[in-house]
């Protein structure tokens, strides 16, 4: 039996009095690879932040690895949609990746094992030659790869990816999805994406979020779901979505 790594039950979140998530219930189990699609402002980023304990829901229950998110979020690797960092910050690519290990031991220096892990992870995303480069002196796609490495170096049990391939070229994207395929053996992955083709190829389950979550614990969504979520006729959104995803009605 695959164990639950993240569970949300009847979760409601409001921003300034308006509901952003309505009655969301979802259970993510180890080795799940879940894709989340949905329109802009649908609450995808908010949902990931609820899982990370960065946003506390007004109502409902959030469990990470059986405990509360604040206590267990160290086991989650997170690639944010926007990292609000300062391009002029004096930090190297290597040191950015190492910050993924900063919570392992408070006080003191990084261990040799931390450094080896950071080194190997940078190699995996093809960024090792840039290790000493200041973080601001990278292209957007290169930087995104560094942030992916920073999430992986935490040796997570769940990976939360918020549009991780936005701005990454096709070649690296394919490599990235191949990496995810391998990582799936070791961890659960939740990926928010607008790339419906990639979603339909790589993920095992799909959910669609627009305040409410449309999810059947499978790779299938009905066109009613999609129409309800995107609030437009399904042809507009589903032409990128192959038939193995879209259930016939």
């Amino acid at each position: 039996m695959k164990s639950e790594v993240i569970g949300l039950r009847d979760v409601w979140v409001y921003h300034d009095g308006l509901p952003v998530l309505e009655d969301v219930t979802i259970s993510i189990r180890s080795h799940d690879f879940l894709g989340i699609i949905g329109p802009n402002g649908g609450g995808k980023t908010t949902l990931l932040k609820v899982m990370l304990g960065l946003i506390t829901p007004e109502r409902g229950e959030v469990k990470v690895l059986g405990g509360d998110p604040e206590g267990n979020r160290r086991h989650i690797g997170y690639v944010p949609q926007h990292s609000p960092f300062d391009h002029d910050f004096p930090i190297s690519v290597m040191d950015v990746v190492l910050t993924g290990r900063a919570g392992q031991r408070l006080f003191g220096r990084y261990s040799d094992q931390d450094r080896k892990l950071a080194h190997d992870t940078l190699k995996m995303v093809d960024m090792l030659p840039f290790a000493k480069r200041q973080i601001g002196k990278l292209s957007g796609g290169e930087r995104q790869r560094v942030f992916i490495a920073r999430a992986l170096v935490t040796e997570p049990e769940v990976l939360l990816l918020d549009e991780p391939t936005a701005g990454i070229d096709a070649h690296i994207q394919t490599e990235f999805y191949e990496i995810l395929k391998k990582l799936k053996e070791k961890m659960a992955i939740v990926m928010v994406s607008h790339d419906l083709t990639a979603i339909s190829i790589y993920v095992d389950k799909i959910a669609c979020l627009n305040r409410r979550l449309f999810y059947h614990n499978s790779k299938e969504l009905t066109s009613d779901d999609l129409e309800a979520a995107y609030q437009c006729p399904v042809e507009f959104i589903a032409h990128g979505l192959p038939h193995r995803v879209l259930k016939e009605h």
Partner: protein
């Protein structure tokens, strides 16, 4: 040669030895903490903390306690309240800083006016007078330096992670918000160290100028701290020399020297600056 003669000549005055010691002690605090202030972009917050600490000076006069001692708890309290209040949702951080900045100064003025008699040295707290630093203040400065160096040494990697990306640091288990408050407390302690050198009103200059100049030479935070300590010591010593020579107010001379070096550093095109 001339400088050597000058050095030997003025070192015979005890107050000059004190002034140079104060310059070095304050350079350590503002080199290290100033680097964080600049890279984390908390210059305005730091200005607020420094100015609000004037309330502590006033309280010291009122209670008849040495103002420099009274200012430590007061500036830490204002650092913590700025740190907490500015994070409230629906409250602009800028406005919160401005309010606490002004409240602290108003409290200081109120206490001073309630204190019978006149307030000796008041001017030197506001504008600094490094040539009159008493021995006891040097001891306090040394102690605060030790606290700052130990904390930054212990939490270097956590401070770096928090300064770079607070949200991500929180997720990986670094107590980022508490570290942020601790950083503001270090700013408060640095303000106390700098009060005697340049005065409350000019503290912000020594927190920002040496660090900004050294940022142009390196992309590594700890090297930036070392460089800005050296720059700050240089600015203070040159400033002390000039103010002694031409009988100028020491605090503003130090700041003007720093400002001139800052302008000169801007003239160097940054791609010609060797970064290592």
């Amino acid at each position: 040669m001339v400088e050597m003669v000058w050095m030997i000549e003025i070192l015979q005055y005890g107050f000059m030895v004190n002034a140079l010691t104060a310059a070095l002690l304050s350079a350590i605090a503002c080199g290290i903490v100033g680097a964080y202030v600049v890279v984390k972009r908390i210059v305005f917050i730091s200005g607020g903390i420094a100015h609000a600490s004037f309330g502590g000076i006033g309280l010291g006069y009122f209670l008849g306690i040495e103002p420099v001692i009274c200012v430590i708890p007061f500036s830490i309290a204002s650092a913590l309240s700025i740190g907490e209040v500015s994070r409230r949702r629906g409250l602009s951080e800028d406005a919160a800083i401005g309010i606490i900045w002004a409240m602290g100064m108003a409290i200081g003025i109120m206490f001073i006016s309630l204190t019978p008699g006149y307030a000796p040295d008041l001017f030197s707290y506001l504008f600094g007078n490094i040539l009159t630093v008493p021995h006891s203040d040097l001891l306090i400065m040394l102690l605060l330096d030790v606290v700052i160096v130990i904390l930054v040494y212990l939490f270097y990697k956590e401070f770096l992670a928090m300064s770079f990306d607070e949200e991500f640091a929180t997720v990986v288990g670094v107590p980022a918000h508490r570290l942020y408050l601790l950083l503001l407390c270090l700013v408060a302690l640095t303000a106390v160290v700098l009060i005697r050198v340049v005065g409350i009103i000019l503290v912000i200059a020594l927190l920002t100028i040496p660090a900004t100049v050294s940022r142009r030479f390196t992309d590594v935070l700890w090297k930036m701290m070392v460089l800005s300590t050296i720059f700050s010591a240089m600015f203070s010593i040159i400033g002390i020399y000039l103010s002694y020579l031409f009988d100028l107010p020491s605090g503003s001379t130090i700041i003007l020297v720093s400002g001139v070096v800052f302008l000169l550093s801007l003239l160097m095109p940054s791609r010609h600056i060797l970064k290592y």
